[in-house]
């Protein structure tokens, strides 16, 4: 750590002092698990050790299901860890603390309060004198650029203005540590950019009372744009897979080569994590240990068709293609992982490359595509093969959904189990491998099963 700080000191020319090393928040050996239906714990977070230093913005990056939002809530004292300790300014954090404020993805504004009342609500627990509360409210409103909107109700505001209220409400308590849970992801690209820039300006000019920030995001660009340090979380259970310092001066430039290099580095970390966990899941922990990414066949086909054509001609940098399609990490990796799983494309470092089968797929007509997809589904997606197998074995070629749900929930958390099954249903329907009746919640085989020879 000291050497990193020294290095950063050389590059940095911003007015804010480098992280001083005083720890605002610290997590030691934090684990979090939820109970499975069978009663055994299902780990969501494991071996989390981290420290947020004074003066830094720490980013938490990961795909959905990596437990990053859970981690943020643990940092805010909203959720208790199953084991391990959380220290806020050296003292154990057992419940929400006075110096920690949260900005929510959904804004979480009280719809029945005006902008001013919403901001003031942040102070209710502190019990300030009325005049003092008014003064702080007014200054937070001015700081965040909400002046003139005091008497508006949230429903009268655009998404961007609503999140500004969210920021002002967090700022009015003058938090030492600000926690942000995907604060810009519910906003459109332009609005998110303007809000982010405004926030960073305030941060750099040290106009905020806040000493440190922890931000959860699934937007790699955003993380590299804002953070001093980024922790990449792996999934199932969420662990810290990598720590990446971002020793760039503010304001940062997306086109800067060092910026691009860090973005690519993060992509390749996420890629290697994905491929590793895929192969590990297949071998070590049985067919259901790895959840299926919930992607529609349409998206897969659209993606691979584009990948096959110019300018990509079968190979693309993930960062590049994410920008071209304006996909966030979650959506991009869901597609890439699905294609990798089905062996229509291969993920390697920060790039994705089409396979021979994938090329054949893009050149086929609809019927042929379905046949090829069915073949790969049976061979490479254990869950789909399993459903097909069970249906073939059964006398009446039918099985209730609950049967598979229970099996899945032994290995995955309920959310992942649900998503995996939905993905399998979508792919199986497209491949005409089986059909599913949602009223009766029953799977059934389509017609004769002569093609199950594989």
């Amino acid at each position: 750590m000291p050497s990193q700080n020294a290095e950063r000191g050389l590059i940095e020319r911003r007015s804010r002092a480098a992280p001083s090393g005083d720890r605002v928040l610290e997590m030691r050996e934090v684990h979090k698990g939820f109970a499975k239906p069978s009663g055994e714990p299902l780990p969501v977070l494991a071996d989390i050790n981290l420290a947020i230093a004074e003066g830094e913005i720490l980013g938490l990056l990961g795909r959905s299901g990596s437990g990053k939002s859970t981690l943020l809530r643990i940092a805010g004292g909203l959720i208790k860890p199953s084991s391990g300790t959380v220290l806020y300014r050296g003292k154990p954090l057992l419940e929400p603390a006075a110096g920690i404020a949260v900005v929510f993805q959904s804004f979480a504004l009280f719809p029945w309060l005006t902008v001013e009342e919403n901001v003031e609500a942040g102070l209710d627990a502190i019990g300030l004198a009325k005049a003092e509360a008014r003064r702080r409210t007014q200054s937070a409103i001015e700081l965040i650029g909400l002046d003139g909107f005091q008497s508006a109700y949230p429903r009268e505001l655009s998404g961007g203005m609503r999140q500004r209220v969210g920021f002002a409400r967090a700022m009015v308590v003058e938090p030492v540590l600000l926690l942000m849970d995907e604060p810009f992801s519910a906003l459109d690209v332009l609005t998110a950019e303007s809000l982010r820039t405004d926030f960073m300006d305030l941060w750099i000019e040290r106009q905020l009372p806040t000493k440190s920030v922890l931000i959860v995001t699934h937007n790699i660009d955003e993380a590299v744009m804002m953070c001093d340090r980024i922790l990449v979380l792996s999934s199932n259970p969420g662990r810290i897979a990598a720590e990446i310092p971002v020793p760039l001066a503010h304001p940062r430039d997306r086109q800067d080569s060092e910026f691009r290099r860090i973005v690519d580095e993060i992509y390749s970390i996420l890629t290697s994590r994905t491929t590793e966990s895929l192969s590990a899941g297949n071998h070590a922990r049985g067919p259901f240990a790895h959840p299926l990414p919930l992607v529609t066949v349409n998206r897969l086909m659209g993606f691979i068709d584009t990948l096959a054509q110019a300018p990509y001609n079968g190979q693309a940098e993930l960062a590049e293609i994410a920008e071209a399609f304006s996909l966030d990490v979650g959506a991009l990796f869901a597609i890439a992982e699905a294609l990798h799983m089905l062996e229509f494309a291969e993920l390697k470092e920060s790039a994705i490359k089409i396979t021979a089968a994938g090329r054949l797929l893009t050149q086929s007509d609809t019927e042929e595509r379905k046949r090829l997809f069915r073949e790969h589904l049976l061979r490479f997606v254990p869950l789909a093969a399993h459903i097909h197998h069970v249906l073939s074995e059964r006398e009446d070629h039918r099985a209730p959904r609950e049967r598979f749900e229970l099996e899945l929930e032994d290995h995955l958390n309920p959310g992942d189990a649900e998503k995996s099954l939905l993905a399998a249903i979508g792919w199986g329907r497209y491949a005409e491998l089986f059909e599913y009746d949602d009223d009766a919640r029953i799977f059934a085989l389509i017609g004769s099963n002569s093609e199950s020879a594989l």
């Binding site: 603390a97 006075a98 009280f110 719809p111 209710d124 019990g127 429903r155 308590v173």
Partner: protein
């Protein structure tokens, strides 16, 4: 900066000079206070020796009667509100309380209103033997039992569905339990609660006759009010008096709707949780008047901020002292203790009931009650089907025409609020005059009041039907029966189910007052469980009243569980697109 600007422009100070709005507002306030006061004074007056009260059939007496009745209903509404907060809050907050309180509420809701009255009236009268207050309380309690349950369910539902992100926000700002309750949970529950208060008020009117002209066995008392007026009119076969009563009640409903509920609904609009702007913002001239009247604003402002301060005060419970923590029993032990206690209580109540009923009741009684229940069940089912066949097409036709819908919808809601039993005498008059078969022709009375719920829910569903789906259906030239089956009926289904649940519940409740009716000394009995309970109430036969009530509860609960809940779940799942 801004406050200064306002002062300079001269908006703030000169406004406090009283204006015409203040005069009207003050007049309104004083009138309401005087009326409420005089009504309340009569309520606590000493009981005159002769209990057959002097009810006058003169129309001139009606304004006072209407006031007394309305006052009773408002008192019951207040009691219901207090009950709602005291009952729904623990049910929503404590897992253990929930497992006991919610099934209990389900049962309480299914017990017909008259059932409570017969068992409690003597108790209330004995509380204040020398004052009108006893019978008054009994009547208020009867109305309360018609009002409280749906409000309680509504608050409970809202409390357990409070959005997680708002709960997290309030926790992260370290709201105390008190602050969270009043600043988050109650505001979130407000629109549903107010809507249910309005429904309750209508429900209360329905039983006004039964609760004011109390007659359980030998005990008879008539409280001055519209209900007693109607009862006397029926006794004396005066159609004219019934006409006057209907007019008086209509006026009363319109007045409290304008003075109380419209302002409440308009005010509560800000608590709507949807983040989108409303299509139609509810307005109220009374609320506007009070909001705009400068002096009123000046007077009420401290009151408002006082309420706000109370809601926002911390009032946090002190932390559990450390020495206490080891003494708190662990969860499994506490669970065992709690459920053991509940089981013991249920066992005790059951033995007491058996002891009470055993010497009096035989299995033959159970069979009679059940047969009567089946008859009433058949009536309810047939009537719901008939009402569906009539009101669904009409509701769709109206709902698809926004201009018509905006005119018809308030009328349908008013009709739902209108106590249909006031029209019973008219129907009975017709049945008697034309010698119609009571078993068949009394039946429609059961649904007279509640069919409107089907109508206005269908209208709401058809109005909300997506325009693009209609256009798609039109462009594919889907017409006739196929249009109904594939386009419109699935679209309005969830709304229809909501309406039909209310209508069927209401019909069961109404059976007690509609299956056996009087016109003067002529008594018409249509048979059925309602008639059975009414008959036993008249005879003061408590074991059989209890039996009838129990059988009805069983029927209502099974119908809800076996028919309406699956329908509702199906509607929720099937007709959603996301």
């Amino acid at each position: 900066m801004e406050q200064h600007a306002e002062v300079l422009i001269g908006r703030t100070w000169p406004q406090r000079v009283p204006g015409w709005r203040d005069l009207i507002a003050i007049a309104l306030v004083i009138a309401i206070v005087v009326l409420l006061g005089s009504g309340a004074r009569q309520m606590i007056a000493p009981l005159v020796a002769s209990r057959g009260a002097t009810i006058s059939l003169s129309p001139a007496a009606l304004p006072n009667y209407a006031l007394r009745t309305t006052l009773r209903m408002l008192a019951a509404l207040l009691a219901s509100l207090i009950f709602t907060f005291l009952y729904a809050t623990p049910a929503a907050k404590s897992r253990r309380a929930e497992t006991v309180l919610i099934p209990l509420l389900d049962v309480l809701q299914s017990v017909p209103v008259l059932g409570y009255l017969s068992f409690t009236v003597v108790f209330f009268v004995s509380l204040f033997p020398r004052s009108w207050l006893g019978p008054e309380l009994a009547a208020i309690f009867a109305i309360f039992t018609a009002q409280a349950w749906n409000m309680t369910f509504s608050l409970y539902q809202s409390l357990i569905t409070t959005p997680t992100d708002l709960i997290e926000a309030s926790r992260s700002f370290r709201f105390s339990g008190w602050q969270r309750f009043w600043c988050l949970e109650v505001p979130f529950a407000m629109p549903g609660l107010i809507w249910n208060m309005m429904m309750s008020m209508s429900g209360g009117w329905f039983f006004v006759v039964a609760s004011e002209a109390i007659s359980v066995g030998a005990f008879q008392v008539a409280l001055p009010g519209i209900g007693s007026y109607v009862a006397l009119a029926i006794q004396q076969r005066s159609l004219a008096a019934i006409g006057w009563a209907i007019i008086a009640m209509t006026v009363a409903i319109l007045i409290y709707d304008q003075l109380l509920f419209r302002p409440l609904v308009a005010w509560a609009d800000k608590f709507r949780f949807e983040q989108t702007a409303a299509q139609v913002v509810p307005r109220s001239w009374v609320l506007d008047l009070f909001r705009q009247a400068p002096l009123m604003k000046f007077v009420t402002a401290p009151l408002g901020s006082g309420v706000q301060a109370a809601a926002r005060a911390r009032l946090a419970l002190p932390r559990r002292p450390a020495w206490l923590v080891p003494l708190i029993p662990s969860r499994p032990i506490a669970d065992v203790a709690w459920y053991g206690m509940a089981a013991a209580l249920i066992a005790y109540a059951t033995t007491r009931l058996v002891q009470f009923a055993r010497p009096e009741l035989t299995w033959a009684d159970v069979k009679i009650a059940t047969d009567n229940g089946l008859l009433t069940l058949a009536r309810v089912v047939i009537l719901i089907i008939l009402a569906t066949m009539v009101w669904v097409p009409i509701g769709v036709a109206v709902g698809l025409r926004p201009r018509v819908a905006s005119k018809v919808q308030p009328v349908a809601q008013f009709l739902a609020a209108f106590p249909a039993n006031l029209l019973f005498p008219v129907a009975v008059y017709v049945i008697v005059t034309f010698r119609l078969a009571p078993k068949i022709w009394l039946s429609p009375l059961m649904i007279l009041g509640t069919q409107w719920y089907i109508l206005f829910n269908v209208i709401a569903g058809a109005s909300a039907f997506p325009g693009d789906l209609r256009e798609a259906a039109a462009s594919f030239r889907i017409r006739g029966w196929r249009w109904w089956r594939e386009v419109m009926l699935p679209g309005i289904f969830p709304y229809y189910v909501t309406g039909a649940i209310t209508a069927s519940g209401g019909a069961w409740n109404a059976s007690i007052v509609s299956e056996a009716v009087y016109w003067g000394s002529t008594r018409i009995n249509g048979g059925g469980l309602g008639a059975y309970i009414a008959q036993m109430t008249e005879a003061g036969d408590y074991p059989r009243i209890a039996l009838g009530i129990a059988v009805m509860s069983v029927f209502v609960i099974s119908m809800n569980r076996l028919i309406w809940r699956p329908f509702y779940a199906f509607a929720e799942r099937r007709t959603r697109l996301d």
